[in-house]
C-alpha cells in the first residue's frame, strides 16, 4: 500500500509528465552537423597555463596579510563536546585564534541544494560549528588560524576535546530494519510497478536473483577542497573556492552570513578535479569565511587529504537486489531492482541506482523500489554518475548471470531485449544507437559469441577472461545564463560564472562560439568562473556543454535580431529590408540565407552604427530542464574488457578495454576521449580497489589517505580503444549528449563479468580483491 504522500507525489509527477508531453519539440540545432570548428581536436585553451604551472587554483591567489587555517575533526560519531581546552594552542606565538562553537561567528543553518533549488549551494543542512553537538565522526570541531601553515598545523594538535558520546547508527546492515522509502529519487518516484513482476518472476523459466553490494567511495579529486576567504569591511566577502558552482557557494555564504548575494563574490579560475565532490559547499567553505571574520584577516583553508575524506561526503554504500526472469530464448519477462542506500538525520539524498533498469531493457513486468537507511555518518553525496554507477554494477552483473544461465552470448541477450520505447515512461527515444555501439565495439574487440566455459582459458600462470556491459547516462539540463558580446573589431566574447574543472568546457565552448558566430577560432573567447559574470549553476550531470551551448544559441538568436536592426537603420546597408528569417550569423557577419554572398561583417555593422559592441544575454529555457520527461534522452555505450587473474596470487589486471559510445555529436574528439578514458579508469578503480572502510563501532573512517584508499595509478591502466558513433541527437543543442559520466557506468560490471569468465567466481561485493577469488 502506498502512503497518501507517495500517491500525491506520483500524481504530481504524472501531471508534470503529461504537461511536458504537450511541449513542442525544440527545433533541431542547425549546428548539429557543422564541421568547421565543432568536432575537431582543438588543444585545450588552458593547456599552456596548466603545463607551465601558471594556472591558479583556489588557494594560489596572493593576498596581503594572509593567514592559514587548519581543521580539527571530531573523534566520535554522535554526542556533545563536554570539554574544550584551547589554551595550549592559543598560547603558541603566531596563533591568531582557535575557533570552536564557543567563539565562531553566528552562521545561519545552510540549505541543502537540490535539482529544484540548486542555488542553495550547500550539500547538507547540518549547522556549522554553532553548538556542542556532534553529528558524525570527522566533523569539524575547531579551526586553528595562525600566521603560518606550520604553526597552525602544530597548534591544531594541541586542541584538547572531551565528548559525551551517545549511541549512534553506524551500520547499514544493522539498521536495515528501520529503512524508509524516500520521497523522491532525484526527480523520480522511488517506486515503479509495471505489470506484476513478482508473479512473472515466480513462473519465469530462467531466473537470476542475487544481491550485490557496493562500498562507500570517495571522489578524491587531486586538489583538496580549499578556499581563501577575505572580508572587505563588514559586509563584502571575497572567496576563491575550488567548487563546481560559484553561484551556489555565493548564495550559501550569503544565507549563512546574512548578506545579499551581491555582497559575496566567488572566483574559481581553475578546479583541480571535482567528480561531484564540489557540486555544492561543504563546511570547510563557511568555516574559512567565519575564521576570516574572527581574525579580521584573509584566511586560507585547504583541507588535508584526511580532512577531505571526513568533511566531504562520498558515494553511498549500497545493497541491491536484482532479479531477472526470462523465457528460454532470452526474452525478459520480469525485472526487479530494489535496495538500500544511506541517508543522514538531516538530509535525504537517495542515490538513483535504479535508474538504469528503468530505461535499458524491455520487459512487461517491472518492479523498482529504493529505500534509505539513516546513519550517523557524513552526508552521502554525488560522485561521478551517482546512482547509475553502483546500479549498473548490479544490473549489468545480473544480465551476465542470466546470460550464463541461458547459455546465451551476453551481447545477444542485450540485443534481444533492446526496447522500442522507454520501458518505464513509454516515451520515444530522441536517439538511441546502442545496437550500433555494440556492433562497432564487438568487431574492434574481436568478441567471440561462443566463448569457452568460465575458468578454462589460461596463459601460463594467468587465467584469461572477457566481459561486456552496457553504459548509460541520462540527459539533464542546467539553469544557465550567459552574456555574448560582439565587438566592433569582429571578436566574440561569451561570459558566464560556470567553471572549468578539466572537462574541456572552455575549449569546446570556444569552438562552439567560433562556429555559432562564424568567426575565426582566435576571435572567439569564453570567460568563466566568477560570480560577477552572468549566473550558471553548478557544472555537473554531464550537462554543462549542452546547457551553456543552449544559452549561447539563445544569445546568438537575440544578437541576430539586434544586428539586423542596426542594418535596418543604415540606409546603405545591403541588408536593409531583409526579414529576420532570411538572415544568419556566418563568416564573421550577418548574411542572407537566399543570397549567401550578400551581407555585412560585424566590423561593418558596428562600424556603421558607431557602436563599440553589441551584446545580449541568453538563457536555457525552463522547459529544457524537463525535456527528458517528454522524450527518453540518454547517452549509451558498450564496454568490452579482457582481464587476467593470476592463478595463485589471484591478482587481477585489466589488460584491454574497448568501448563504443552513442554520446550524440562529439564537440572535440580529443577532450571527449580524455573524459571517457578517465571515467573508465575510475570504474576500474571501483571494480578492483576503491573502498572506504568505516569502523562500525565508532564511525571512524579507516581509509583517510591514499595509502589506504587506493585509486588507479599508471600501472593499473590497460590498453584503450574508444570509439564514438558521433550521431547528432535531433533535440539537443549542437546535437550533443552527455560525455563526462557515461563511461564509468557499466565499467565495474564489465570487469566483474570478465573476472567471472576468467575464474568461474562471481564477485557480487565490490571491490574485487584477491581474497574474494580464493
Amino acid at each position: 500500500m502506498k502512503s497518501i504522500k507517495a500517491a500525491l507525489i506520483d500524481a504530481t509527477l504524472n501531471t508534470v509528465e503529461t504537461l511536458v508531453g504537450h511541449l513542442p519539440d525544440p527545433a533541431p540545432d542547425p549546428l548539429r552537423n557543422a564541421r568547421e570548428f565543432i568536432g575537431k581536436p582543438y588543444p585545450r585553451v588552458d593547456g599552456r597555463l596548466k603545463v607551465t604551472g601558471q594556472a591558479r587554483y583556489a588557494t594560489e591567489h596572493p593576498i596581503a596579510g594572509m593567514t592559514h587555517a587548519v581543521v580539527v575533526h571530531s573523534s566520535i560519531a554522535k554526542g556533545k563536546i563536554s570539554h574544550l581546552d584551547t589554551q595550549a594552542a592559543e598560547s603558541v606565538p603566531g596563533v591568531l585564534a582557535v575557533m570552536t562553537h564557543r567563539n565562531a561567528p553566528r552562521m545561519k543553518t545552510p540549505e541543502t541544494a537540490s535539482l529544484f533549488n540548486p542555488v542553495a549551494g550547500s550539500n547538507t543542512s547540518v549547522p556549522v560549528m554553532q553548538s556542542a553537538d556532534i553529528t558524525w565522526n570527522g566533523e569539524a570541531v575547531a579551526v586553528v588560524v595562525a600566521e603560518t601553515l606550520e604553526l597552525a598545523n602544530y597548534a591544531a594538535g594541541l586542541v584538547g576535546i572531551r565528548y559525551e558520546e551517545e549511541p549512534a547508527a553506524l551500520s547499514l546492515e544493522a539498521e536495515k530494519g528501520n529503512a524508509t522509502i524516500p520521497t523522491l529519487v532525484v526527480t523520480q518516484s522511488p517506486e515503479v510497478n509495471i505489470g506484476d513482476a513478482k508473479a512473472a518472476l515466480a513462473v519465469a523459466p530462467v531466473v537470476s536473483d542475487q544481491e550485490y553490494e557496493t562500498p562507500w567511495q570517495n571522489q578524491h579529486a587531486m586538489e583538496p577542497h580549499a578556499s581563501i576567504a577575505a572580508w572587505m569591511g563588514k559586509d563584502q566577502l571575497l572567496v576563491y573556492d575550488s567548487t563546481q558552482s560559484p553561484p551556489g557557494v555565493q548564495h550559501n555564504l550569503a544565507r549563512m552570513f546574512d548578506l545579499k548575494p551581491e555582497q559575496v563574490r566567488v572566483v574559481t579560475e581553475f578546479v583541480g578535479g571535482a567528480f561531484g565532490g564540489k557540486v555544492a559547499a561543504w563546511s570547510n567553505v563557511p568555516l574559512a569565511a567565519a575564521a576570516a571574520r574572527l581574525v579580521g584577516r584573509p584566511v586560507k583553508l585547504a583541507l588535508s587529504r584526511a580532512g577531505v575524506s571526513m568533511v566531504v561526503g562520498g558515494r553511498t554504500l549500497t545493497q541491491q537486489r536484482v532479479a531477472l526472469g526470462a523465457t528460454l530464448d532470452g526474452k525478459l519477462t520480469a525485472m526487479i531492482h530494489t535496495g538500500y542506500g544511506m541517508r543522514t538525520t538531516k538530509d535525504v539524498w537517495a542515490e538513483q541506482y535504479t535508474f538504469p533498469i528503468r530505461h535499458l531493457y524491455a520487459s512487461p513486468n517491472i518492479h523498482v523500489l529504493q529505500k534509505v537507511v539513516r546513519l550517523d555518518r557524513v552526508q552521502n553525496s554525488y560522485m561521478r554518475a551517482p546512482g547509475e554507477t553502483p546500479g549498473s554494477f548490479a544490473l549489468e552483473s545480473a544480465m551476465d548471470e542470466l546470460a550464463h544461465k541461458l547459455g546465451l552470448d551476453p551481447v545477444e541477450l542485450r540485443m534481444r531485449n533492446e526496447p522500442d520505447k522507454d520501458p518505464t515512461h513509454g516515451t520515444y527515444f530522441s536517439s538511441r544507437h546502442l545496437r550500433e555501439a555494440y556492433a562497432l565495439a564487438a568487431g574492434k574487440f574481436g568478441w567471440d559469441p561462443q566463448r569457452p566455459e568460465p575458468g578454462t582459458q589460461r596463459e601460463g600462470d594467468w587465467l584469461i577472461g572477457t566481459g561486456v556491459a552496457t553504459a548509460f547516462y541520462p540527459v539533464q539540463q542546467l539553469p544557465v545564463t550567459i552574456k555574448a558580446r560582439i565587438t566592433a573589431d569582429g571578436h566574440v566574447e561569451v561570459s558566464t560564472s560556470s567553471i572549468e574543472m578539466g572537462v574541456g568546457l572552455a575549449t569546446v565552448q570556444t569552438q562552439h562560439i567560433a562556429e555559432r558566430f562564424g568567426v575565426p577560432y582566435e576571435r572567439a573567447r569564453y570567460l568563466h568562473g566568477d560570480t560577477d559574470l552572468p549566473m550558471s549553476q553548478a557544472s555537473g550531470g554531464s550537462a554543462a556543454t549542452s546547457s551553456v551551448g543552449a544559452a549561447i544559441h539563445a544569445a546568438a538568436d537575440k544578437l541576430t535580431e539586434k544586428l539586423l536592426k542596426l542594418a535596418q537603420r543604415n540606409k546603405q546597408s545591403v541588408l536593409r529590408g531583409v526579414k529576420r528569417k532570411n538572415v544568419e550569423l556566418r563568416a564573421g557577419g550577418l548574411y542572407r540565407l537566399d543570397q549567401p554572398a550578400v551581407g555585412e561583417s560585424y566590423e561593418q555593422l558596428l562600424g556603421a552604427s558607431g557602436q563599440a559592441f553589441v551584446e545580449a544575454e541568453g538563457s536555457v529555457p525552463a522547459s529544457a530542464l524537463v525535456l527528458n520527461m517528454k522524450t527518453s534522452m540518454a547517452s549509451y555505450g558498450a564496454h568490452f574488457c579482457e582481464v587476467r587473474v593470476h592463478a595463485r596470487t589471484r591478482q587481477v589486471q585489466v589488460r584491454r578495454f574497448m568501448s563504443a559510445f552513442d554520446c550524440g555529436r562529439i564537440m572535440n574528439p580529443q577532450t571527449a576521449r580524455s573524459q571517457i578514458v578517465g571515467g573508465i579508469i575510475m570504474g576500474i578503480g571501483m571494480a578492483l580497489m576503491e573502498e572506504a572502510v568505516y569502523d562500525e563501532r565508532t564511525g571512524r573512517l579507516m581509509t583517510p589517505s591514499l595509502g589506504e584508499y587506493h585509486v588507479p595509478v599508471h600501472a593499473d591502466v590497460p590498453e584503450f580503444e574508444v570509439y564514438f558513433l558521433d550521431e547528432p541527437d535531433p533535440v539537443m543543442p549542437m546535437g550533443t549528449k552527455p560525455v563526462g559520466e557515461v563511461s564509468i557506468v557499466g565499467t565495474a560490471a564489465a570487469v566483474a563479468n570478465a573476472v567471472f569468465q576468467a575464474t568461474g567466481i562471481r564477485v557480487r561485493h565490490l571491490p574485487i580483491t584477491a581474497d574474494k577469488l580464493l
Binding site: V51, T52, G53, A88, G160, I161, M222, M501, I681, A715
Partner: protein, 176 residues
C-alpha cells in the same frame, strides 16, 4: 548510555618552538632567501613562502606525487623533505622547465596528447617525467607506467601521459 570519551587527547603543553631561521633555496636558477620554521617542508616553502604555487599539494604524505620537483635533476616528493635540507641543491619546479616562451618538449607533448584534464597533478607528472627520461631506465610503455606510478592522476589521463612521454623519449637520442 552516555560515556565520557577522552579523545582528541588532552592538550599537551606547548613546546618551546625553535625560532624561524634563514633558509636559502636555489630554485630554477634563482636564489630565494626565506625566513621559515625549521620543520617547513620543501613543498610548503615553495608554495606558501616563495609563492611558487606551480608545485601542488595533493596529499602531503608522499602518496600522490603532485608535489614532485627535481633536486639536482632527480625527482623527489617535496612534501616529504624539509626545505632546510636543500640549501646546497639546485631545485627545478614546473615554473623552471620552459626556456622563456619555448616550452620543454614534454610540456608541448602533454598539450599535444591531451595528457591532463584538471591540470592539478600535471606539474608533478611533468617533473616526474623529466626525471624519468634522465634516469634512462624506461624504454617501453609498460616500464613508463611502472616508473610513473608514483604520480596519481584522478582524471586518469594516464594513457595520454604515457604516449606524450613516449613521443619525447623516441625523439631523443638514446643514452649510451
Amino acid at each position: 548510555m552516555t560515556t565520557t570519551f577522552p579523545i582528541n587527547p588532552p592538550a599537551p603543553a606547548a613546546l618551546l618552538l625553535p625560532e624561524p631561521g634563514p633558509v636559502t633555496l636555489h630554485v630554477n636558477g634563482q636564489s630565494i632567501a626565506l625566513t621559515i620554521a625549521p620543520w617547513t617542508t620543501l613543498l610548503d616553502a615553495l608554495r606558501e613562502h616563495a609563492h611558487l604555487s606551480g608545485t601542488k599539494k595533493g596529499c602531503d604524505h608522499g602518496q600522490c606525487g603532485a608535489c614532485t620537483v627535481l633536486m639536482n635533476g632527480t625527482r623527489i616528493n617535496s612534501c616529504l623533505s624539509l626545505a632546510v635540507m636543500h640549501q646546497d641543491d639546485e631545485i627545478t619546479t614546473i615554473e623552471g622547465l620552459a626556456h622563456g616562451d619555448e616550452l620543454h618538449p614534454l610540456q608541448q607533448a602533454f598539450i599535444d596528447h591531451d595528457a591532463f584534464q584538471c591540470g592539478y597533478c600535471t606539474p608533478g607528472q611533468l617533473c616526474s617525467a623529466v626525471g624519468l627520461l634522465s634516469e634512462g631506465h624506461a624504454r617501453t610503455a609498460e616500464e613508463i607506467r611502472e616508473l610513473m606510478s608514483g604520480n596519481i592522476c584522478r582524471c586518469a589521463a594516464y594513457p595520454h601521459i604515457v604516449s606524450a612521454i613516449q613521443e619525447v623519449m623516441h625523439a631523443q637520442p638514446l643514452r649510451p
